[in-house]
Symmetry: C2
Subunit: 354 residues, 2 copies
DNA sequence: TTGAAAGCGCTACCAA
DNA sequence: TTGGTAGCGCTTTCAA
């Protein structure tokens, strides 16, 4: 293990490894406790001593060893991050938010998983091994093993864009409101035959959006929307679009709701390839508000999720529980924003963005 | 710290906190040393004892505290990850590769940065504070501060998709070969007036691709390609496309090389909006091989980077240096793969994919 | 084959 | 205002 020759970098002030509280104490002629306190700006340390130690620390290139600090009983400052398939830009955008907002709070992210499917068991262990203070989950599912680990060890969990079925808090877009709003929009625009492309069957997000969309359509007196099985990828949306294009004309919907933008984009690509014009022949709407959906080929009418706010609220929930406080599990629903664009025929008077 | 009411979840075997080597030792009636050795499968421990302790560990839900293990002198098992702007799916795809390949090697990723611009100084510190064993950088630039930190502290650094200017190893696609190959392709297809949309001016990736593209074009007897200033985003490509469309007809190129797919996609969107047909009026080619570039609206002719191999080689380089071994800095160039698609008129005999 | 002791770097408690 | 001591959880000599 350690018998390899240690090539400890170039001329650091500390000849033999990095500066420590101990080495600073020796050089300053004070005790380690004093150094520790001075470095943390403990008001009990005299200004002179504090300044001297601070200068010394800078000179020596001192960096506190967070691991040791954590060992003695504090927080690790680490948040476990679990991401869904980043083929969906939604997760990539969410990740970028998470990184910057975590940094703003002095936290670091331990990237545990990214991709489809649940966390592997071995990875879930890392969450304990590194003593993460909390966990931010955005994947389709927290593996039951990981969930058990968190629950059993008091690691707070917050799911973003998902409502947890078992353990933990959640921050989510108001998916029911979103589904209903899109249905109302399509109805008002004069559409009579709706279809919905479903997402991952196991996710609350997909279910809620699809259900409320259908319920609203029926409440408006339309027949139940045709249900097309989709998935979580562009490819799944594409396949769904092909299926729609293959429908006999009498059964073809005049408006389609893809429960996520990436899905709706796939469907749009397939429908256009089949020779249909959007929104001339068929209107398409999605949800999420991802960047690519706004670009010229798509100009997707969608409900944008308030991503920054969602991540922020998620971290608030985490922070409140990291102290060890026993708080009730909380579900926060944030309202999305309708962005009317050219992918759908719009109700009279509604003007598309851009 | 520990006097707060600990909501220690459900019936963990250890009533008061997590199981430790010490607690297992007490329960097994042996010393901590023995437990430590047994858990690490030290051959000196008798099979019976080892089995007994292993069983006990499982029963108690024991997880080693990596932080403590690191403290005593070992590796942290942490790799710092620095990502560029994830608006470019290339970085998102790279991240997914990095996560799975790191996990396969028993490493975890500390996500330090994601987005445009260099790491903030405060973030760079984290890399020392958490004692990362190495660093994987894919951002436009390692801030000079972060570079200095790594160099001064013997933290191995590998840049992926970038050739480091100062410190560290690099794994990159053979960008010169890629640029030249695309130029040859366009020339062979009969194009006479080429243009190139440049990327971030500071990155080796962009410079190499653009330079070799231009050199090859001129070597084939064409005039120097028009240089259009681009950037790193779809928006930058879009602006470049608008600039091209605004050119007087006599100056308009008949083929455009965007040094990255995302850039080329933006340009294509703008050119189409300006009423030009692709590849009828203008051929467009890119580089990277990102997923969205293969979809119907784009069908981008591109050179795909061998992402998995690049990440793998990057981790190899890191691994070799993490022991502390003093190895020369190494630059690994991997060859990309041409994927001819419909965004460009192709040379006779070359058939587009899909 | 096992145990005792020391120490990694840091903070907290109790004295002074 | 400062120092001494102990201990977080683990590994690793050195002894037995």
């Amino acid at each position: 293990m350690d018998d390899e020759p240690q090539a400890r970098g170039t001329g650091r002030a500390e000849p033999n490894g990095r500066a420590t509280v101990g080495s600073l104490a020796r050089r300053a002629g004070v005790s380690a406790s004093t150094v520790s306190r001075a470095l943390r700006n403990d008001p009990r340390i005299s200004p002179e001593v504090r300044a001297r130690i601070a200068a010394l620390a800078v000179e020596a290139g001192y960096t506190p060893n967070v691991l040791a600090r954590t060992l003695v009983g504090g927080r690790s400052g680490l948040i476990g991050l679990v991401l869904g398939p980043v083929e969906n830009p939604f997760y990539a955008e969410l990740m970028q938010q998470a990184v910057s907002q975590a940094a703003a709070r002095g936290w670091r992210l331990l990237l545990l998983h990214a991709g489809p499917g649940p966390i592997e068991d071995a990875t879930a262990e890392a969450l304990l091994q590194y003593r993460v203070d909390g966990c931010l989950i955005t994947s389709a599912e927290l593996s039951s093993r990981a969930a058990a680990i968190c629950a059993a060890n008091g690691v707070p969990v917050v799911m973003v864009n998902r409502v947890a079925r078992e353990h933990g808090c959640a921050v989510s877009c108001d998916n029911r409101a979103a589904g209903a709003e899109l249905a109302r929009l399509l109805v008002a625009a004069g559409h009579r035959k709706l279809a919905v492309i479903t997402g991952n069957a196991a996710t609350s997000t997909s279910i809620e959006r699809a259900e409320s969309f259908a319920a609203q359509a029926m409440a408006a007196g339309l027949p139940a929307p045709t249900i097309i099985t989709g998935g979580a990828s562009h490819a799944a949306g594409y396949a769904a679009g092909q299926a729609i294009a293959a429908l006999p004309l009498a059964e073809r919907p005049d408006a389609v709701f893809g429960v996520s933008d990436i899905l709706a984009m796939g469907a749009m690509d397939a429908l256009r390839e089949a020779g249909l014009s959007i929104p001339g022949d068929i209107s398409i709407v999605g949800t999420d508000g991802i960047g690519p959906a706004s670009r010229p080929p798509y100009r997707m009418t969608t409900i944008a999720q308030p991503l920054a706010a969602m991540v922020g609220r998620g971290m608030d929930l985490l922070l409140a529980r990291i102290g060890g406080a026993v708080l009730p599990q909380e579900v926060v629903l944030l309202r999305g924003t309708l962005i009317p664009r050219h992918s759908a025929r719009l109700p009279p008077g509604m003007v598309p963005v851009s």
